[in-house]
């Protein structure tokens, strides 16, 4: 299963990319994806509480199973305006 991940602001700087396609085993959820990203970039770990995860444009309130071609966005705290 392949999902598209969008990273923004501080999170993008830590990951070193703003968009990436990531291959996950079937049945993986948003929590597994986050864990995968933290393993690759441990500096992400402290941002766990402040980073919201959106799946296909909607912020997920707790871990959700992923589906092929999902768009997952990693959203740091808002700073607009």
């Amino acid at each position: 299963m392949r999902v598209r991940v969008l990273a923004f602001a501080r999170v993008a700087e830590i990951l070193g990319w703003t968009r990436s396609e990531i291959e996950l085993s079937a049945g993986s959820g948003t929590d597994d994806l986050w864990q995968r990203l933290v393993t690759a970039a441990p500096a992400l770990a402290p941002l766990a509480d402040s980073t919201r995860i959106a799946r296909n444009g909607r912020v997920v309130m707790k871990a959700e199973p992923l589906a092929q071609d999902d768009e997952i966005a990693l959203l740091p705290p808002a700073g607009g305006g």
Partner: protein, 147 residues
């Protein structure tokens, strides 16, 4: 009425877009890049990025809330992304309504909520050469999807 743009924003264009013959009041808020950060460091410029589609959806939700709370009015919101210099307009909220109280209340509500909720991010670049991502005070702490 709701958009993210990489081009310069003209507040007057948004004001004209919301104003109809029934509107006696138009309140426009423009957020402008300041030469000084909140912690009083000289700023040379800002860099904004956004999740464009989600930001526009959030603008629409916030505007619907404002109409429900304060009464019928026409609302436009535009936020810029990319590199902005001191004095440039980063965001405009324009609200027109038959009476001014609705326009003032709705305009202030929209910019307050936009700053708290819209998926938009700002990096300040300082005269010292340093830079940092600045977060707004967020009154709604939304759970995340990690556990």
């Amino acid at each position: 009425m709701f958009s993210i743009t990489r081009d310069a924003i003209d507040p007057q264009v948004l004001a004209a877009r919301v104003t109809t013959a029934e509107c006696g009041a138009c309140v426009t808020f423009a957020g402008i890049v300041r030469s000084m950060s909140d912690d009083l460091r000289p700023v040379t410029g800002l860099q904004y990025e956004a999740h464009d589609a989600m930001a526009v959806s959030e603008f629409e939700r916030i505007a619907a809330e404002a109409r429900e709370r304060f009464g019928e009015c026409r609302i436009a919101v535009q936020h810029r992304t990319g590199d902005l210099a001191i004095g440039e307009v980063a965001v405009v909220v324009a609200v027109a309504s038959p009476h001014r109280k609705t326009a003032f209340d709705a305009c202030e509500y929209v910019i307050d909520e936009l700053k708290a909720r819209a998926p938009i991010w700002k990096k300040e670049h300082y005269a010292s050469g340093e830079s940092s991502w600045r977060e707004n005070d967020c009154h709604t702490q939304t759970p995340s999807g990690r556990a």
